[in-house]
Amino acid sequence: MTFPIDRRRFVGLLGLGAAAQFTTIGARPARAAERITVLNWQGYGTDEKWAVAEFTKSTGIEVVHDYFSSEPEMITKVRTNPGAYDVVLCNSARVSQVQAENLLAPIDFSKIPNAAGLAPKLRESPSLVLDGKTYGVSWVWGMTALAARTGKGALPDSWAALSDPANKGRVALADDSTAMIGIGALLTGQDINAPKDFDSIKATLRAMKPDVKLLWSSEDQWNKAFTANEFDVAPYWSGGAVRSIRRYKLPLAYIVPKEGAIGWLDSLTVPASSTKKDAALQFINYMIDPGFYVQWVEKAGAPASAYAAAMDKLPADDLNRVTYKADYLPHLQFQAPLSDDIRQKINDLWEETKAFYAQ
């Protein structure tokens, strides 16, 4: 917030960069120019221009990006393009599904010095460790909670706002089956990863019909529609909410409803088919570095870092500290791997609900 802090940090980063450069040069004096391809959501940290430039400058490794707009699309791309990707962002809940087809390489933590700083609970999340091997480096975590336009009276404190008659035609739902069925499960007091009573979830989601104006599937679409005053209340990703407030000054409040919210942990993985695994791990090491994290938060807005000490480096009044309050954690249900049967049921129910909304 104040200039001296910025400058101190800047100098610190300079030192860090220089150190990184020194170690790389020491280890491999004649590094050939390498290029790694990262598969991620668009605008989600790894493709920040300054970060890619900084990484390329210190390691000589070029970084190019490809994007997906849904997690299944990510899996499709990894499945059908062997060798095309070196670093893939993978929701921890999806790691076992991807690894069931042996698409991922086990992580060699000895090549990621920064991994020592990751919160042990996240680093060794049961979703990431399979048969004693870890297939993803926990990177950031966040939630899907409720965003509401400010200046429109009392802010909602419940997911029930999505079917509140007061919000008729002013709601945008996420076009994401796991998120929406998860919200239905929270509203009906069920486990989001293994709901048993699908009928009550169906009824809960159907009750939202009069309020639903549109379905959003990307952060960009969310921001555009919110700016155009198309809706007031919507489920939203915590990282997106912080970016919308910080970067676009959108008048929104981000709320963890009393029923709870859906927590997620994103990890960075290396496909088994990658031919540049060392370079990929170097990039992952850079991505979990608190130095990168603090800059990411300041320049763009980011979810909560899995690197335990990184959050403490933020100013006390930082939006991220406000958004990711420690009190929220007990209210979060973290997404876990879903069985094929449950996933199919979730997809079918959401598809049917969308058709119901369209009638």
């Binding site: 042996n102 639903v212 104006k213 379905l215 079918d348 909304y357 369209a358």
Partner: protein, 304 residues
């Protein structure tokens, strides 16, 4: 010497050098090789996927099943979705014909030379921009406080909001805009083939313009209308971009359901089965229509 011999031989008997079918095959080979590679093989792969339990990527071992084709029975809401898509197809095609045929006639009758080239350019112009860009421009026009809304309020300040984004009308507007050029071009080509002397003959026999249109022009322009309708109807019932972006909540069509099976649910087999079911429905519709058209053509021939 060796090079001169065949040349001399072919000079002696040029017409018999190659059988006609060899030339035909040689000319068609690139097209069919390309179609086999780019259309037929992927289509076969999709047909295979549609009878598997899982998409055969990675280390999965799918089994054969017909369950994917039973999805319309098990999830009857898909019938409503399919009906929505067909209605969208019929409405868009009808509107394209209603707007496209007069435009084509204006091009043929009213314009010539430079004016015609300019008008032609204006019709083809939308093809030069990306489809997604065109659809997003429509969102700016159709939304509340959009250009349309502003224009209406500039004329009648007390008018209610004219924003129609996220409605069936918005989807139809986007689709008609996208596919109208096909209809105009196919109708125009049919109209060009009409001999002007036919129209002159009708006029010299005392026919008024409505009669000329109904009895002379319309029957001759039917082939253009039919190919325009096919070029419009088929992509429209499979469209997913326009319904998704312009339709908001109401934008659920077979196109978006099939897209979701591929991109969101990763159920390629079901997506493929849905695609082939829709293909069968479209072929059935065309078979019915072509039967009707052939009968009416035969009747017209018999009566003349």
């Amino acid at each position: 010497m060796t090079a001169a011999t065949p040349a001399g031989a072919s000079a002696k008997a040029p017409p018999r050098a190659l059988p006609g079918w060899v030339a035909t095959v040689a000319l068609l080979l690139p097209t069919y090789a390309w179609l086999t590679l780019a259309v037929f093989l992927p289509l076969c792969a999709m047909l295979l996927f549609s009878v598997l339990t899982k998409a055969p990527f990675g280390n999965v071992h799918p089994q054969l099943t017909t369950a994917n084709y039973m999805v319309f029975v098990r999830q009857p809401y898909l019938l409503d979705v399919a009906w929505t898509s067909l209605k969208l197809g019929f409405l868009t095609t009808a509107l394209c014909a209603l707007i496209g045929l007069p435009a084509a006639m204006a091009l043929k009758l009213g314009a010539s030379g430079r004016l015609r080239s300019v008008l032609f350019l204006l019709i083809i112009l939308p093809f030069w921009t990306n489809g997604l860009v065109r659809i997003f421009s429509w969102t700016m026009v159709l939304r509340e406080d959009g250009f349309l809304d502003m224009a209406v309020h500039a004329i009648i300040p007390s008018a209610p909001s004219a924003g129609i984004l996220f409605s069936q009308s918005a989807i139809v507007i986007g689709l008609v805009h996208g596919y109208l050029p096909y209809m105009i071009l196919t109708c125009f080509i049919s109209l060009l083939a009409i001999d002007d002397s036919l129209i002159e003959a009708a006029r010299s026999l005392g026919a008024r313009w409505p009669v000329i249109f109904l009895r002379v022009i319309l029957p001759l322009v039917v082939p253009g209308l039919v190919s325009g309708a096919i070029l419009t109807f088929v992509p429209v019932i499979g469209s997913f971009m326009e319904p998704r972006i312009l339709g908001g909540r109401v934008g659920v069509t077979m196109g978006t359901v099939i897209e979701d099976q591929f991109t969101a649910a990763f159920n390629w087999p079901r997506g493929a089965a849905l695609s082939f079911t829709m293909l069968a429905v479209v072929l059935a519709i065309f078979a019915t229509f072509s039967g009707v058209l052939r009968q009416s053509a035969a009747r017209a021939d018999a009566s003349s």
